[in-house]
């Protein structure tokens, strides 16, 4: 299995809204904690160690 970096989210605008919504009434510390929980929940759902490693690598990359 490979990490899917193609568009895969159904209703991207709706999802993005929901993500921001979830943070709306949180302060910085609460938001950080929320993000950490979210990452862990998603990582567990993926489970596959190779895919997770690819995801970490993809996240580490950014345009200069």
């Amino acid at each position: 299995m490979n990490l899917n970096l193609e568009a895969n989210i159904v209703d991207p605008d709706g999802f993005y809204d929901e993500l921001l919504e979830a943070h709306q009434h949180l302060d910085k510390a609460e938001s950080d904690a929320f993000n950490a929980r979210l990452i862990l929940v998603l990582c567990n759902h993926i489970g596959d160690r190779e895919v997770l490693a690819e995801a970490l690598a993809a996240a580490a990359q950014r345009d200069a």
Partner: protein
């Protein structure tokens, strides 16, 4: 002058002047410096094999401080092979339930149900002084049976010089100094190893910037026999984490993580300690402070555990954090690995290079222990804001969701190391279970009478299951015994089938003296067994 650096719990080897102190340096085949758990286990193993061994310790018995309390199944099995396992089990506290708290909240509990069909439980709690005492008691039994073991108390090694084929030692005693020589020297002189320093050898690794306060308290309390661990404990002044764990004799181990910048002396004030313990146990709790100490820790090891005729074992060779109970437990595996090899080398049955495999196999074990104990420490004491956030996220999720519980790490308890892909390993042509692959230590199994490990008593052993195996008395002088088992007759529980055959119908296993699997086949000819024994003693092609 021999300084007393710590109080003695059991005076087991009082100083006695020996004639050697007035004579020119006498030569010994093996001298062990340090009579801690590792030195004593090594001495007992060697002595029981008939190799003469002298233990020098700068004290007259076992130190008071408990230090280690958790002893793992593999350690008990090794101690049982040496004759001391049942004394430990009888005295020890067996526990299965662990509870993890985060602040006031109970996050989850686990139950390490003992796996059926093992003679020893996953671990017991036992004060280290008892562990050491039972080893020395067994040395006394072995001596009475003629084992050539000698212990000299209050013999402080002050200098050593390495002459290539032997070493010379300067020893201080209450009656002054004397010298002796050793063909082989085993340094079991602890984490601060004076011998390592005398030889100018490095001991590199990672220092963890944290202090832990231990209070062993004696009380009649109604707490259950469970391991309770708190992250961010709710009671006043209890630091970053805390632990409550039961030991024999109504003693409880309490551990508080205090952080880095502390005033050691102030923290060790009994009044201050009592106020912390009161906050944890509740006002009015009645207890006595048995032993208190503050410790910091490192994770590090020597690069090589063999330097010519000097061998390092236990804490002198490697040091880990206490989380996971991997210190003494791994050191006892060092003793288990070293004794038979040195014995064969001294008897001229194996080449000296066999001792390099001791270093290689046990350094591999040390790396595994360091990795596990470093990871536990990083979870317990997050090193950055972000790691703290993730740590707490795991704890927040673990209460509700099963998936997060395996991520909670308050120490992964010691399990024996598997010598995968090591030079002494022979053929593995059986399509058998993973747990008993070549390199693994034998998993115990109940037989119709007794347990499998009772048949593996410190020499090379061939186990033939549902088949014939060549009955060799020895291979070039290396003794070999044969255990023939038939699952229809000897395996009422089915454990032998499950642990040693899996889907297969028959197998031949070659087991090393330390109960690790050297080779296994569906069936074996004399030449196969011979080749595997030679490989396992460092004479392989």
């Amino acid at each position: 002058m021999v300084d007393v650096r710590y109080d003695i719990a059991f005076k087991l080897y009082p100083y006695k002047k020996v004639p050697a102190q007035d004579r020119p340096a006498e030569r010994h085949p093996v001298v062990i410096v340090g009579g801690g758990p590792i030195g004593m286990a090594t001495a007992l193993d060697l002595g029981r094999k008939g190799t003469s061994v002298l233990v020098l310790d700068d004290h007259e018995g076992v130190g008071q401080g408990s230090r280690a309390i958790c002893f793992a199944k593999r350690t008990l099995e090794i101690a049982d092979r040496l004759g001391a396992g049942h004394a430990m089990l009888d005295k020890g506290v067996v526990w299965n339930v662990g509870k993890v708290f985060h602040g006031e909240k109970r996050v989850f509990e686990f139950n390490l149900q003992p796996q059926a069909g093992h003679q020893f439980p996953a671990f017991i709690n036992l004060q280290q002084p008892y562990f050491e005492k039972f080893l020395v008691d067994e040395i006394r039994v072995a001596q009475a049976e003629g084992a050539p073991i000698e212990i000299r108390g209050q013999n402080l090694v002050t200098a050593m010089s390495d002459h290539g084929d032997h070493v010379a030692l300067d020893i201080d005693t209450p009656d002054g100094a004397y010298q002796l020589e050793a063909d082989w020297l085993i340094a079991c002189d602890g984490a601060r190893s004076p011998l390592r320093d005398m030889m100018g050898l490095s001991f590199d690794g990672r220092v963890f910037e944290d202090n832990f306060l231990i209070a062993d308290v004696k009380m009649k309390a109604a707490f259950p026999t469970e391991r309770w661990f708190w992250f961010e404990p709710p009671f006043k002044n209890s630091g970053q984490s805390a632990l409550l764990h039961k030991q024999p004799d109504d003693v409880w181990r309490i551990d508080f993580q205090l952080g880095w910048d502390i005033d050691r002396k102030a923290e060790l004030d009994p009044e201050k300690i009592r106020s912390r313990v009161d906050a944890m146990l509740g006002e009015g709790a009645e207890y006595e402070l048995e032993w208190t100490s503050i410790y910091t820790f490192q994770c590090r090891r020597m690069q090589k555990f063999r330097h010519g005729s000097v061998l390092f074992a236990g804490d002198s060779a490697h040091q880990v954090s206490p989380f996971g109970a991997r210190g003494a437990n791994s050191g006892v595996q060092d003793a288990d690995n070293l004794a038979w090899k040195l014995d064969l080398v001294i008897k001229g049955l194996a080449p000296e290079s066999l001792l390099d495999s001791y270093s290689e196999e046990r350094a591999h074990g040390a790396d595994e222990n360091i990795l596990n104990s470093t990871r536990a420490t990083d979870f317990l004491t997050p090193k950055s804001e972000t790691s703290q956030i993730f740590r707490n996220a795991v704890l927040d999720l673990a209460g509700e969701h099963a998936f997060a519980r395996p991520l909670v790490n308050s120490g992964r308890l010691s399990v024996p190391c598997v010598y995968d892909d090591m030079p002494l390993n022979g053929t593995d042509s059986l399509d058998g279970p993973e747990i008993t692959r070549v390199g693994a230590s034998c998993v115990d199994a109940p037989l119709d009478q007794g347990f499998l490990l009772n048949h593996l008593s410190g020499q090379f052993t061939v186990i033939a299951i549902n088949t014939q195996a060549p009955d060799l008395q020895d291979v070039d002088g290396v003794a070999l015994s044969l255990v023939s088992l038939d699952t229809k007759q000897h395996d009422p529980s089915g454990a032998l089938q499950q642990r040693y055959l899996g889907e297969e119908t028959q197998a031949v296993y070659l087991i090393r003296p330390d109960q690790h699997v050297a080779a296994r086949w569906p069936s074996a000819e004399e030449a196969d067994v011979r080749a595997a024994v030679l490989k396992a003693i460092g004479r392989g092609a």
